[in-house]
Symmetry: C2
């Protein structure tokens, strides 16, 4: 059973692992020190929001299908509140880190499977993070774009790439101003580095 299948088929009748649904706009979880909760988003979208003491609130992460989150993976302290809010209707697996290493009462096979595959899931997440860090650490929008495009291209051994989300989301992922990014994409087209074949399909010429 691969990870995708595991996540898709996880049982809801395990006493340790909940499968819950959340409507758009509701709070999925609040990060709490020492609890070590783990959540896996099986459908929908959600934002990780930081409420600072001074009242400001920042979206510091965005989650989509198969993303893993929870205070287990984030430095948490009492100086600010971290909250995950559903930006779409969501389905989420929720369990505690400490519960996953011990057998559940029913000794159910999903619990065992999840336990055996949690490391693999976390490693997959690490890979995504490493990719994002590599892109974010480029200094110019141009380099961020070219790096991101190259990674997509290399992954599929194809110069024709499909951006897996909207350009607005791409700007968020690259953490740059959208209009500045659009300007830069236009320059890349004008200078012959890329060809835009359709809205989300780009051909790399380098």
């Amino acid at each position: 059973m691969d990870i995708q299948n595991l996540i898709d088929n996880i049982s809801t009748n395990c006493s340790r692992i909940q499968k819950r649904t959340f409507v758009k706009g509701s709070i999925i979880t609040t990060y709490m020190e020492k609890r070590r909760q783990i959540c896996i988003l099986t459908s929908g979208k959600a934002d990780l929001i930081r409420y600072n003491l001074n009242g400001s609130q920042d979206i510091i992460d965005k989650f989509s299908k198969n993303d893993i989150f929870g205070e287990t993976f984030y430095p948490v302290n009492s100086n600010n509140e971290l909250v995950v809010k559903a930006t779409d209707n969501c389905e989420v697996l929720i369990f505690l880190y400490d519960d996953i290493s011990i057998k559940c009462k029913q000794n159910c096979k999903y619990h065992t499977e999840l336990s055996a595959n949690l490391l693999e899931i976390v490693i997959q997440n690490t890979m995504h993070q490493n990719t994002r860090i590599e892109v974010l650490s480029k200094r110019t929008i141009r380099d961020k774009l070219l790096t991101y495009f190259s990674i997509l291209s290399n992954k599929n051994y194809n110069k024709k790439i499909t951006i897996p989300f909207s350009l607005t989301s791409l700007a968020d992922y690259l953490s740059v101003d959208r209009s500045a990014m659009m300007r830069e994409i236009k320059s890349l087209i004008d200078e012959g580095f890329i060809i835009k074949e359709s809205k989300n399909v780009i051909r790399l010429m380098y």
Copy 2:
């Protein structure tokens, strides 16, 4: 045994887990598809370098004590070469992901311990990555600095923080031009946001 102790005391006589030393300038490892090697740096410093097909080489990550790396955590493909180079004399634990889940011939206790704690080590790494991503995703140098400072401050519940490395390294961590960062630090001091108590010690006034 906590993770730090585990890493410090790991046995060298386990057939599956090597403890190797590398002199400054030497290649610790080259990332290879499908091998799934895992390395833990127990002392020294190293750079992850990407050699692109066009001949350019980028430092895409920097490792120090207790950092974990290897192709297990990085998307690897044949279009470019990823190499870890010692920038100081290094001591490194090296093993394969697949070897860690099976018992070693000697059934040694370190192998067992490492196996049991690998998830915890990877999660710790995830936390560091999340922190870095939060900082890198700020758009201005000022916000990157203030976010980084706040995280340090919150962690220790103290407005007086000590930057754990040189300002040159801080600029690398934030992925910004060093001189521009110095200029921004000066502005933060002039505007009363921070006070520099000594070279690496800063007091936050916000």
